[in-house]
Every structure is written in structure tokens, then in C-alpha cells.
């Protein structure tokens, strides 16, 4: 049997040394006064982490909006959905992603508009049974495979 050497097993702590201006050892760095936290998608793009969910796009109903099969959508449930937003709705026991069109709200219906000439809009007449699940805030597309 071969020997296994365990090197270290303490993985719980994370250090961000870059942001420790209190520690001064050796020659002061000229960049010290300009220290800034790194760009962080989680912090900068996700405004409401408790309300954020991810989903994968299936199909081409939004392809003319640049949203393609396989893309990842970042959904914020807490946002108010407005006319023209790309939203996630639950229709016919399926989650779907479409443009929200409230032009005809006063007439008692709304429309979920695809971005693909081959598809027709979904008309929602019974607003009591219909709920918007969330609002799409970003989509992520992978280029280099």
C-alpha cells in the first residue's frame, strides 16, 4: 500500500490581505492610498441576494433579444415587473421567459411577448390565476467552450 501524506486540512478561513491597511511592515507601497476592493460580480451585479435565482434558457423564443438556448438567466424575484421588462412567469405548468406587455391592462388582459417572429404572444386573460415569478436582470452567455 502506498503512503498518503496529508498536507493541510484547514480550509475554513479566507483572508483578504489586500484590505488590511492597519498592517504596516517594511517599505510602504506607493499604491497603498489607492487600495480598492476587487470587482466582484456577486457584490456588484446581484443587488438582492436573498431574492436572486438562476435558470437555464431552453429554446429560441427570445433569440431576437439575444437570449439563446443554453444561456443562464439571473432572476430577481423582489423587483416590480414593469411594461417592457423580461420576466419569468409560470404558464401551463411551465416556467417561461418573455417580454411583459401591459398595454392592454385596462382592457383586462396582458401579453407575454416572445422575441422571435416564429412565435405568437401569449395572452393572459385571467389575471387572478396568473403570477409573475420574477424579473430577469442579467443573462450570461458562454463564448469560449
Amino acid at each position: 500500500m502506498s503512503k498518503i501524506k496529508l498536507l493541510r486540512g484547514e480550509f475554513d478561513s479566507r483572508l483578504k490581505l489586500q484590505l488590511a491597511p492597519g498592517i504596516k511592515a517594511g517599505f510602504p507601497s506607493p499604491a497603498e492610498d489607492y487600495l480598492h476592493d476587487s470587482l466582484d460580480f456577486n457584490r456588484d451585479l446581484i443587488k438582492n441576494p436573498e431574492a436572486t435565482f438562476y435558470a437555464r434558457i431552453s429554446g429560441d423564443s427570445m433569440v431576437e433579444a439575444g437570449i439563446c438556448d443554453g444561456d443562464i438567466a439571473v432572476i430577481d424575484r423582489s423587483l416590480q415587473a414593469n411594461d417592457g421588462d423580461v420576466i419569468v412567469a409560470y404558464v401551463n405548468e411551465e416556467f417561461t421567459m418573455k417580454y411583459l406587455d401591459t398595454t392592454h391592462l385596462a382592457e383586462g388582459y396582458i401579453e407575454l411577448r416572445p422575441a422571435n417572429a416564429a412565435y405568437s404572444p401569449i395572452r393572459i386573460d385571467n389575471l387572478d390565476d396568473f403570477r409573475i415569478w420574477g424579473v430577469v436582470v442579467w443573462t450570461i452567455k458562454q463564448w469560449k467552450r
Binding site: L6, G9, F53
Partner: protein, 428 residues
């Protein structure tokens, strides 16, 4: 300014979590089963109204309710843990101070909030959680934690409260306690509830209305007296109450029955590993390892036998290997051939914080201890990063190389859209 407590808890928590990704199940009867699909542990309001009782064995569900379709889920703690974590984060953000009390409830201390603002605070919390996570929460607010629990009951029961019930004066307190069964009061166990019923105390108001001397004489129990105080508006349950668990139990009912020692030992090894992981997660160590095994009480035609053994360790530990070895020893001492076992478990007792350990003078080996600790934290890391059971002990492996997660039954388990990329929602 009076100090107010709010208990914030998720309504029918597990069912509500399942509904987040299944909006079609709203207003329909839904139940969630215990580990291994044994019995009902959570019910939607509709299932409760139908008469589905908590603890109903899964196989009886169809017989008892043949005419209605009940949606059934295996428990998915990965999902419930993640979603309730979001709820807790919102409570933490909105409350001046708060502490989690269980998977689905937290106490908030509302210092600096008063009068009209209190009820508004609760309603705002409900709205924000509902909008952000999609889980309904109820809020009970009062001057003691026990009264807040009472208020929470009414917040859930009557839609008129709009998810938040406030007991902030004596008139409301007396009215609420008069409508509240003494057995339901937080801190009064079933045993005391039976005793109280026998002596004619049936509502919380009957109990709170007695003199404290009577309570002392009848019960000679500090917890009961504390509860009496709390019902009378005297704040005395400490804030740090959800301290580390004093004992940790991992147990299961088996899918079928288990007779042979090796399979039973494998189950016990898995329970022991799970328990040791829980122990390390809360930075504790245990002094006593216990094992219990039980035959199938529903099978009166078979020989019945149940027993429990425990082993006290010289130095309290959280080491997986030490705990598995102790548990295996315990099992060996109580196992009996020819018995078909239905249920078994591992119980860790004498749980204390890691730092508070007095090592045994003669047997303690600091080198070995260091190696064990490093190994455990490496294994914990690999299992966290690579997924549960990436690394297991050979004694955890079932015949055919099966792992624990595959050996337990979860036929109706939902996906984990918030913790696994492979399970995220699909948008058409």
C-alpha cells in the same frame, strides 16, 4: 420603552419550500415525508383540513384518502436549508437583533420599535420575504418570547391579522391565553400538559391565573415556573437560548428490515459519520456515544427486541473514526441474531464546546489527536466541495459499493435549484 420580541416562522415550512418552484401546487394538498419516506412530517393547510395527521405512515396515505390526490415529496433538506437561509438573512437585515431558533424560525428583538410600528414591522417582513423568496412567514410579537409564540399562533390562524399578531396589552393577553390550550404553550411538554389537564387546567389562562406558589408546589420545576412568568408578561427566557445542541441524534427507519450484522453495522457507521459531521459543524465534541436498535412493532408475528448501549469516551471527541469505532462497539454489545430490525440510530451526548475539554491524562495522545483533526477537516472540505460522500470510510460502504445517500429511499425528491447547477430552473 418596552422591549418586544418577535417570533418569525415559515408557515408549513417544507411544503412552502417545495411550492417555490412548483407554483401549481398552491391551494392543493401537499405533504413532505420523513427521511427514507417513512411518514408525513409536513402538511400544507389543505392537507391538514383534509385530516392528514403528522406522523401518518406513507403507505397508509392512499388507503386513508383514496379520493383525493395528495402531492407527496421526499424531504429535501438541501433545498429547505438554502431557502430558509435566505429568510433568515432578511430577518437579520430588518431586525435590530435576532437569533435563529430552528430551521424555520427566528426570534427578533425589536428594541427601538414601538406602538404602531411593531405591527407594521411584521407585515413589512412578511411582504419582503414573500416577494423575495416566495415563502409565507407569520410573525407573533409580544413582551416575552412565550407570549410571542402565542401571538404567532393567532397570526397563522386568522387571516385578518395579515400575518402579524401583536399582544401588547393585558386585555389582548388575557383574551389570547383564554383561547389557547395549555398543552400548546411553548415550554410545557406533553407530560406536564397531561398533568395539568387532570387537575382541571385546560387553557393557558387557567394556568397563568394560578398563584406562583401553587405552580411551585405542584411542579417543583424551574422551567414550568419560568413559563408561568413569561405568560404573565415577565421576560425571563434568556436570549442566547438556542445554544449548541446538548445531544445530537441521527436515526432512520429502514426501507425494509435488516437482520444481518454487517448491514446494520454499515448503517450505524453512516449514522455515526453524520453525527460527527454535525458535531464538528457546531465546533463541539461529545463525551458519550450511544446506539439504539429496534425491531418492527407493526409486525407482531416477529420476535420483538430493542436495546440501547452507550460508551463513554475518556476524552471528548469529534473525530469520525473514534466515534464510528465506539458506535460499532456499542452495536456489537446489543445486537442479537434472528431479530429483524426496523429502526436504529446513533446518539451523541455530553456535547460541549471544543475549547472546554479536559483531556484524559493517561490515554490522550496529542499527536494522534492532531492527525485526526486534520484528516476530519480535510474530509469535511472534500465533501463540502465535491458533494456529500465524496470521501467515505470503507465501513460506510454497503454491499455492491452503494453509498448511504443511495441506500435510503427518496422516491419523490424534488430537484435542488438553488444549490446545484445541474438542477437550476429551465425557462422556455
Amino acid at each position: 420603552m418596552t422591549k418586544y420580541y418577535a417570533i418569525c416562522d415559515c408557515d408549513n415550512c417544507y411544503v412552502s419550500c417545495e411550492r417555490v418552484f412548483r407554483p401549481d401546487l398552491e391551494r392543493k394538498p401537499v405533504v413532505v415525508l420523513s427521511n427514507n419516506d417513512g411518514c408525513v412530517v409536513a402538511r400544507s393547510k389543505e392537507a391538514k383540513l383534509m385530516g392528514v395527521k403528522a406522523g401518518t405512515p406513507y403507505y397508509q396515505l392512499k388507503q386513508l384518502f383514496p379520493d383525493t390526490h395528495i402531492e407527496v415529496f421526499s424531504s429535501n433538506y438541501e433545498l429547505y436549508g438554502e431557502l430558509t437561509g435566505r429568510v433568515m438573512a432578511i430577518i437579520r437585515d430588518m431586525a435590530p437583533q435576532c437569533f435563529r431558533y430552528s430551521i424555520d424560525e427566528a426570534f427578533a428583538i425589536l428594541e427601538g420599535i414601538d406602538g404602531e410600528q411593531l405591527q407594521q414591522w411584521g407585515r413589512d417582513l412578511h411582504d419582503r420575504v414573500w416577494r423575495s423568496v416566495g415563502i409565507p412567514v407569520s410573525i407573533g410579537i409580544s413582551t416575552t418570547k412565550t407570549l410571542a409564540k402565542v401571538a404567532s399562533h393567532f397570526a397563522k390562524k386568522y387571516p385578518g391579522y395579515d400575518h402579524c399578531c401583536l399582544i401588547d396589552n393585558d386585555e389582548k393577553r388575557i383574551k389570547a391565553l383564554g383561547l389557547y390550550d395549555v398543552g400548546e404553550v411553548w415550554g410545557i411538554g406533553r407530560r406536564y400538559a397531561e398533568k395539568l389537564e387532570r387537575i382541571g387546567v385546560s387553557t393557558a389562562l387557567d394556568f397563568a391565573g394560578h398563584k406562583v406558589e401553587w405552580v411551585r408546589m405542584m411542579f417543583k420545576n424551574i422551567v414550568i415556573e419560568r413559563t408561568w412568568n413569561e405568560l404573565n408578561g415577565i421576560d425571563c427566557v434568556p436570549d442566547d437560548l438556542p445554544a449548541r445542541k446538548k445531544s445530537i441524534c441521527t436515526s432512520r427507519s429502514f426501507d425494509g428490515m435488516v437482520g444481518d450484522f454487517d448491514t446494520l453495522r454499515t448503517h450505524i457507521a453512516n449514522f455515526a459519520v453524520r453525527s460527527a459531521e454535525k458535531l464538528r459543524k457546531q465546533q463541539s465534541v461529545a463525551q458519550v456515544v450511544g446506539v439504539f436498535i429496534d425491531s418492527n412493532h407493526f409486525r407482531e408475528d416477529l420476535m420483538q427486541y430493542g436495546n440501547m448501549a452507550d460508551k463513554t469516551l475518556l476524552t471528548p471527541t469529534s473525530s469520525t473514526i473514534d466515534i464510528v469505532m465506539a458506535a460499532t462497539d456499542c452495536l456489537r454489545s446489543i445486537y442479537r441474531e434472528g431479530i429483524m430490525f426496523k429502526r436504529a440510530g446513533v446518539l451523541l451526548m455530553g456535547v460541549v464546546p471544543q475549547g472546554a475539554v479536559q483531556p484524559d491524562m493517561f490515554s490522550y495522545d496529542a499527536n494522534r489527536h492532531g492527525r485526526m483533526t486534520r484528516m476530519d477537516s480535510a474530509v469535511d472540505h472534500l465533501n463540502r466541495v465535491g458533494g456529500t460522500e465524496t470521501v467515505i470510510l470503507s465501513s460506510q460502504q454497503y454491499p455492491g459499493g452503494k453509498k448511504f445517500a443511495d441506500a435510503i429511499r427518496h422516491d419523490h425528491k424534488s430537484p435542488c435549484p438553488t444549490t446545484r447547477w445541474s438542477d437550476i430552473m429551465v425557462l422556455k
